[in-house]
């Protein structure tokens, strides 16, 4: 610590860096790391990094905590997965869910934000209305909607009263349930997108809008040429957050449909990992699934980020 204080305030010239680094006493640097960084890094390593490595290890075995001994099976789990109908269904379900959940709240959120982009108590209050579901627990949201959408629930009762003979089984029809779940998630995430887009809209300079208007641009043209490009950072935030939320959707499915109706019509990969790992205790197989899931999330997020951030830079 003392040596650090005595260090001259001016930084060493760049070409000296390597030599200075070697000569600089290691003790204070280590002390600094130990006191400021080590606790956080250590807990992160124990509870996130190490488990990922362990997962990777498990995925190469037939690990089942209730059925020892555990054997090394190489890539068998992965090969099995790629031919496993249940997994391929989950992959399809996850993709559909993700596409809907990324697009719907983004589009509707932008529309609502444009509508609410005015000052005054009314618009503030309405913004709060749209934001409220965001702070609710997904379990609460799931319970509310599963009651509302029950085949004998209020929505279908209302439809029957309106003269619809056979209202859809929103959550009991295998062809509909996934779209219902996606809509529920979209409903909860909408307010998030609204608030982020509203913030983006505040950042669009009024002068730019006025200049475009003077040049004769109509509202649509002004939106496409001025507002929309300026909203690029908001689009990035919303898309990445929605992408990650959709991928890890588990709560909704566990509470609303438990993977059904039928065989896995709403079972996402995130759902199957935990069902396989904890209910069926196939730790090895579930870990292989989890590792594939991590890879998919990482690749898709990285591509989306790169694409979206390039749009921001192009401004």
């Amino acid at each position: 610590m003392v040596a650090q204080v005595a260090r001259p305030a001016t930084r060493p010239a760049p070409e000296e860096t390597t030599r200075t680094r070697r000569r600089r006493p290691l003790g204070p640097a280590l002390g600094h790391f130990a006191s400021f960084a080590a606790p956080g890094v250590l807990i992160y390593a124990c509870f996130v990094l190490a488990p990922i490595l362990v997962s990777l290890g498990y995925s190469l075995t037939n690990y089942n905590p209730f059925n020892p001994p555990t054997r090394y099976v190489g890539l068998d789990n992965y090969q099995l997965l790629l031919r496993d109908d249940q997994f391929l269904t989950a992959l399809r379900v996850t993709s559909i869910l993700t596409v809907i959940v990324v697009i719907v709240p983004n589009v509707l959120g932008l529309a609502v934000a444009l509508l609410l982009d005015r000052h005054g108590w009314l618009y503030n209050a309405l913004r709060s209305v749209f934001f409220t579901p965001v702070i609710l627990s997904s379990v609460v949201v799931s319970v509310i909607w599963s009651r509302l959408l029950d085949s004998e629930g209020p929505l279908n009762e209302a439809l029957r009263a309106l003269g619809v003979d056979q209202p859809p089984g929103w959550l009991s029809d295998p062809a509909v349930a996934l779209y219902s779940v996606a809509s529920i998630i979209s409903w909860q995430m909408l307010g998030f997108c609204v608030v982020v887009y509203l913030a983006g809209l505040q950042g669009v300079p009024v002068e730019l809008q006025e200049a475009a208007a003077i040049d004769g641009a109509g509202p649509v043209r002004r939106f496409r040429a001025v507002t929309w490009p300026m909203l690029a950072p908001a689009l990035t935030v919303n898309t990445v957050v929605l992408l990650i939320s959709a991928f890890k959707a588990y709560d909704y499915i566990k509470v609303i449909t438990n993977g059904g109706p039928g065989s896995g019509t709403t079972a996402t990969i995130a759902f199957n990992v935990l069902q396989t790992g904890f209910d069926a205790n196939h730790g090895g197989y579930a870990s292989a699934m989890a590792i594939l899931m991590l890879l998919i999330v990482a690749v898709v997020t990285a591509i989306a980020l790169r694409f979206l951030q390039r749009r921001e830079v192009d401004l």
Partner: protein
């Protein structure tokens, strides 16, 4: 107005949309204060006259599910957020100020944690916790929360710390303050907006968290607010009054928290959106 549209159009459309959007929430709010037999028959009706029977039923359950869950959720949320603030502020400061190959790699490694779905780590986590005898304990859940959310904490703090002039810290160091003193007395007070963001987001996330307490606290031992609701779904079967009352009570603390800090909520959210 500018294009000759009637002036009531925008507020009219906005109010209508918001009303439709609010229907599910109205449905719960109305039925919390309605006697059980009316919920099935007239779900959409206003609760007149309102009754507190459902809320009372939840508060006076013989197994004290609500009170136990509430205590667990408060303890876990408070402890996790407190530890997370201290650890991620210091770690964020370390990473923002010590810039070399190693810290850059470490930062990247930590930020990767932002997108890791809990499913990927939960299976080994239960083994780690069982091995350290922390499985099915609140401490175990707190430790997990700290590890899992530290990336978010440093992500927010690092951005703010870069905006604090280093000269401020150097001056304090020259005056003889230790690194710890400089951080807690000079830097940390300047990070209040960042701290507010982290507290707000993490409190809501941890309070609402379902999957992690469900698995770490195990099937029977402890419940948090969310896993308590999940377990009551089966118990309450057709008693939606009690179920909704439980959900209402479980949400009340977050709702109050949100209403009290509304402005900071939006600011925290949008700081990220405008800076990218």
């Amino acid at each position: 107005m500018k294009h000759g549209k009637p002036s009531w159009l925008r507020p009219g459309v906005a109010i209508t949309l918001a009303a439709v959007f609010f229907v599910p929430l109205y449905f719960v709010l109305a039925n919390v204060f309605k006697p059980g037999d009316l919920i099935a028959k007239q779900p959409a009706k206003l609760p007149l006259p309102p009754t507190l029977a459902n809320i009372e039923a939840v508060l006076t359950r013989p197994d004290r599910l609500f009170w136990v869950s509430l205590t667990n959720s408060i303890v876990v949320t408070l402890l996790s957020v407190l530890v997370l603030i201290v650890l991620s502020a210091m770690l964020g400061h370390y990473l923002a100020r010590t810039r070399n190959r190693w810290t850059r790699a470490l930062t990247l490694l930590l930020l990767c944690g932002l997108m890791i779905p809990p499913q990927v780590i939960l299976i080994p986590i239960t083994d780690v916790l069982r091995f350290t005898h922390l499985m099915a304990t609140l401490q175990g859940l707190v430790l997990f929360n700290v590890g899992y959310y530290v990336p978010f904490g440093i992500f927010v703090f690092m951005g703010f710390i870069r905006a604090v002039p280093v000269e401020l810290e150097e001056a304090a160091r020259i005056d003889g303050a230790s690194r710890m003193q400089v951080f807690w007395r000079v830097v940390f007070p300047l990070l209040r907006p960042a701290t507010a963001s982290v507290v707000i987001f993490l409190s809501v996330w941890i309070w609402n968290d379902f999957i992690n307490p469900l698995i770490i606290l195990g099937p029977s031992q402890g419940t948090t607010i969310t896993t308590g609701i999940y377990r009551s779904i089966g118990q309450y079967q057709a008693d939606f009054g009690s179920l909704f009352a439980l959900m209402f009570l479980a949400t009340l603390p977050v709702l109050i928290f949100y209403l009290a800090l509304q402005r900071q909520f939006v600011k925290g959210l949008t700081g990220g959106a405008t800076k990218g």
